[in-house]
Every structure is written in C-alpha cells, then in structure tokens.
Amino acid sequence: MQTTAEIAAQISAEFSLLENWEEKYDYLIEKGQSLPDMPKDLKDDEHLVKGCQSSVWFVTECREGSLYFQADSDSLIVKGLAALLQELLNGQPAEAYQNVDLSLFETLGFWRHLSSQRSNGLTAMVSFLKTAAGDCAAQRGE
C-alpha cells in the first residue's frame, strides 16, 4: 500500500496540470461527484461533522487496525475535499491518520478551507477522522 506522502505527491502532480482557479475547482468538484451518495439513513447526527458551514457526514469502519470511511456533503466543494481526504487516507493504518500532513491542501491552493475559517471545516473533518482512528487503534490494543 502507498504511503500518504506518496499519494499526496500524486494528487499534487494531477492538480499541477490545471491552469487556473476555475479548472482547479472543476477538478475538485469532479472528485466530489465521483464519490457515491451516502444512503439517507446514515446522514444522521451521529455521522455529522460539526463545525462546518455545510453539512458533512462520515461513516467509518475499522478493520484490523486500518480505518475506512465513506463521506458525503451537501456542498460539492466540501465533498471534493472529502474525496481528496479519502484518496489520501482511506484504508491507512490508524496511526497514519494521527500524523497526516495537511500541507497538500495548501499546495493545491485550497488553503481557505483550512482551520482558521471556522465554517469551512477541513480541520473539522480531519479531527472527526482522527477521533475515529484513535478508537480504531485502541480496539486493536484490547
């Protein structure tokens, strides 16, 4: 399995071919649209990531110390960011989540979705995943 750093480099290379903001967002939105829609009954408070201006849901699953997840959002941009997180992290060992390097999103120019803007929630999404990864690592330890 590729490491998150290798995957980040690949994503970065894909985006580097895009010339302007419109193309970058176009590509991000395509990524979001490629995620399967989450069944409605899973879009509940338990799976809702709090702290975003748009609604984001994550359904996580822990298998043998690795964390898998599905994501959905009513915002296609946020869904695109969630799709990038999925490419980066889905199926990685729980420890990889704790040390994930988010500089990829700065490199891509999607910095505005990072932490300081309380409504935008990339940080909120990552923190939701880190909590699930923590539980996942603890399960294996038991």
Partner: protein
C-alpha cells in the same frame, strides 16, 4: 450642490485591485463597506500629527485630539439630527451599542414578569442581548414574527403590547432580507402603548434618507462606523437625553467618573458617563471623516441611486432559471439574498470568488430567519454607493457560470 454618485467609485482605492486575476467586484457591503481615501488619510494624519489621549490633558496635542474627537461627535449628532451632541455615545459598534442599552436599560427598568418584544427579522446582536436580559431578570422574551413577504405587520405588533411591555427592539433594515421596516408607523404605535423603541440602524443609516432620530422619534438608535465607510471598531449609540440621564453606566473606570473616594463615587456628565476608559479616538475621527464624505451627497439622491440599482439587481437575478430571491417586501434596501436550486450557498460563494466577485454566504447571524424559511443559509449580495450596473452584471455572469460548472 451635491456630488454625482457615479463619481464616488474613484474615491475608494481598494476597488481598483484585482482578485484571482479578475477586477474586484465587491458586493459584501452589508458585512463591511470599503473606505474612501479621505477616511484612510484621516487615520494617517491623526497618528502623524495629533495622537494623544483625550480629555483633561493640558498640552497642545491633548487639546487637539480632544477637539477632533468631540468635533466627530458633533458631526455624527448632526448626521442623524440628534438634539444634543452628548446624546451620541461612542462604542465599538452596533453590537456593543445594543449590549450597552440592554444592560443599562435592563438594570433600571426590567423586572420579573416584564416583557421585551423583538422582531423575528433581527440580527443575533439585537436578539441575544435581549434574550439574555430576559433570562437574567425573569422577564418574558417575545418575538414579533415576519410575514411570508418578509415584513412586519403593525396590527400583529399592536396586539402584542401589554402593560408589562418595557421595550421594543427592531431594525430599520434587515441584514438578511433587506426589508425596510416602517418605523414611521411602528414607533408611534409603540409610544402610544407607552413602550420605548430601540432601532438597530446598522444596515440603514448609510443607505436611507430617513435617519433623523427626532423625526423617527427613536428612543435608542444604534449603528456601526465600518458599515458606513468609516474604520472598524467604532460605533454609536444614540439615546434621548432623558433616557441617558436615567440609565446607570455600562462600564466603570477612568473618564466616566466625577468624584471618587472610599465612600462615594459620582459619575461624569453625559456622554462621558457611558465612555469608560480610553476611547477609540482614531476611530471616532475616521467616523467624522466618513460623515463629511457622505455629506457631499444628497441623501435622497443617494437612496434613489441605490434603490434603482437594487431594482436592476432584482430583475437580473429573477431572470436566472432556478434562482430563488428571498423576501418580497414592498420596500427593500441594498440586500439581495438568494439561492440557486441544487447549489449549496457555500459553493456559490467560493466559486463566485474565483471570478473576483465577493459575496457572503451562510446564515448572516439570523438563525431565526433561516429557520422560518426552512433553509440552511443564503448567498447575500449587498450594495453600497460605489456599486453600479457593471457589478450586478458581473454577479449574474458569475452565477450563470457557476450553474454551468455544477450542473453537469
């Protein structure tokens, strides 16, 4: 002779900047307006040649700073036609103005079982201070609902007044829907019931000619500098002298006292009783400069210019398939709140920004309005005196482009 409004754009240096390889189209004026060069210069000049603490300083700079600070108060008083300059209290902004009023008025006049009425159209800053006051005092918090068109119904308000009603708090223009509330009807109704009125003028004082507090007969009138072309961090609470004399101070400290000993403290005269601590002198002077700037335009001409532009914006937005414009009040000012079917407001805001168009998205600090409309938020474009039809055209072009991007 007033200056033509179409010439104003050149006075705002930031409007000639480029954003994301496009000329800036600034349509987030309800959040804050840009500043004309004369306001920017007033701050630079203050710190270059005047800076000193105000009041009770004997040296030349202290006297100059005090004179300029008090001259700004007089300019603001004339701008809203207050009867006295000492009815103008400088604050940090509308939020602090309303908190001051709620705290001091509540302390003196609100008791268990009393009632406060606010409208459902309020920004959280004219809602939460009253809600919390009612919680503290065991008073009843009552909400005047808005109609399906986004307006307030005088008859419904009339039916809400009781002997226990202590105050009505409402805005002159809704920050979320742009509704212009008919204060000329609502304030006399309240006064006939013996109820004083606090007006949140944050979205109106810079747009409407009807800002004469004596004609409106507002008991309290609150607004921010930064939404009327002045710096951030300066605002105003106007209150009738008769109220200010009856209210206890909000903050205690320097500047606001007369005599202090271990057994007795007496407070300074108005307005200083309500201005504890070193005030925002540069902000007040900047606000004075903004008032001077606005005074070169005829207020009615300014209102007509902005309302014509708003009408153009409404017609252009309504021509976009799938677009819902919220509220349909008879009189609307400066605010264009909308969504496009199937597109999240946040996505619309981010993607408009890629073409240099600045709007705001979300709930606009008005959750009660969003709940009533059963929506999670809106896109809000909001106008100022320097906007023109090109800005509206850039907005609608941008929206059509976003629709094309997202609806494949």
């Amino acid at each position: 002779m007033s200056t033509p409004i179409s010439a104003a754009r050149a006075d705002f240096p930031i409007l000639s900047t480029w954003i994301n390889d496009h000329p800036l189209v600034y349509l987030d004026n309800a959040a804050t307006t840009q500043k004309p060069q004369v306001v920017i210069d007033s701050l630079r000049d203050y710190y270059s040649f005047v800076n000193s603490n105000v009041h009770r300083g004997g040296h030349t700079l202290a006297v100059r700073a005090t004179d300029m600070y008090e001259a700004a108060r007089e300019k603001v008083a004339r701008f809203i036609n207050a009867a006295h300059a000492h009815e103008i209290i400088f604050t940090r902004g509308t939020t602090e103005s309303i908190n001051l009023a709620a705290s001091s008025f509540g302390e003196a006049f609100v008791h268990p079982g009393d009632e406060i009425i606010v409208s459902q159209l309020e920004h959280h800053s004219n809602y939460v201070p009253w809600f919390e006051l009612c919680q503290r005092k065991g008073a009843r918090f009552r909400v005047l609902p808005f109609t399906p068109t986004g307006e307030l119904d005088p008859e419904v308000l009339q039916g809400m007044f009781t002997e226990k009603t202590r105050l009505l708090a409402l805005n002159q223009v809704s920050n979320s829907l742009g509704t212009v509330n008919p204060l000329e009807t609502l304030i006399p109704l309240a006064h006939a019931a013996g109820v004083p009125v606090l007006v949140d003028a944050a979205q109106s004082v810079q747009h409407l000619a009807a800002r004469d507090v004596q004609t409106l007969d507002a008991d309290f009138y609150a607004f921010s500098g930064h939404k009327m072309y002045a710096p951030m961090g300066i605002g105003v609470l106007y209150a009738k002298e008769s109220w200010l004399e009856k209210l206890p101070p909000f903050l205690y400290g320097g500047e606001m006292i007369d005599q202090v000993s271990s057994t007795r403290v007496t407070f300074a005269q108005l307005p200083h009783k309500f201005e504890a601590g070193t005030p925002n002198v540069e902000g007040a002077i900047g606000l004075g400069a903004a008032v001077d700037y606005l005074n070169q335009f005829d207020p009615q001409e300014l209102q007509t210019y902005e309302e014509d532009l708003l009408a153009y914006g409404i017609s252009q937005l309504r021509a976009i398939p799938g677009l819902t414009l919220y509220g349909n009040p008879k009189h609307r000012s400066s605010i264009l709140p909308f969504n496009v079917e199937g597109i999240q407001h946040y996505d619309m805001g981010i993607l408009l920004d890629t073409s240099g168009v600045a709007v705001r998205t979300g709930q606009h600090c008005t959750q009660p309005i969003m709940d009533a409309l059963s929506i999670s938020g809106t896109v809000r474009a909001s106008l100022a005196l320097y906007n023109n039809r090109d800005d509206i055209d850039a907005l609608t072009r941008g929206i059509r482009r976003v629709i094309k991007m997202l609806k494949r």
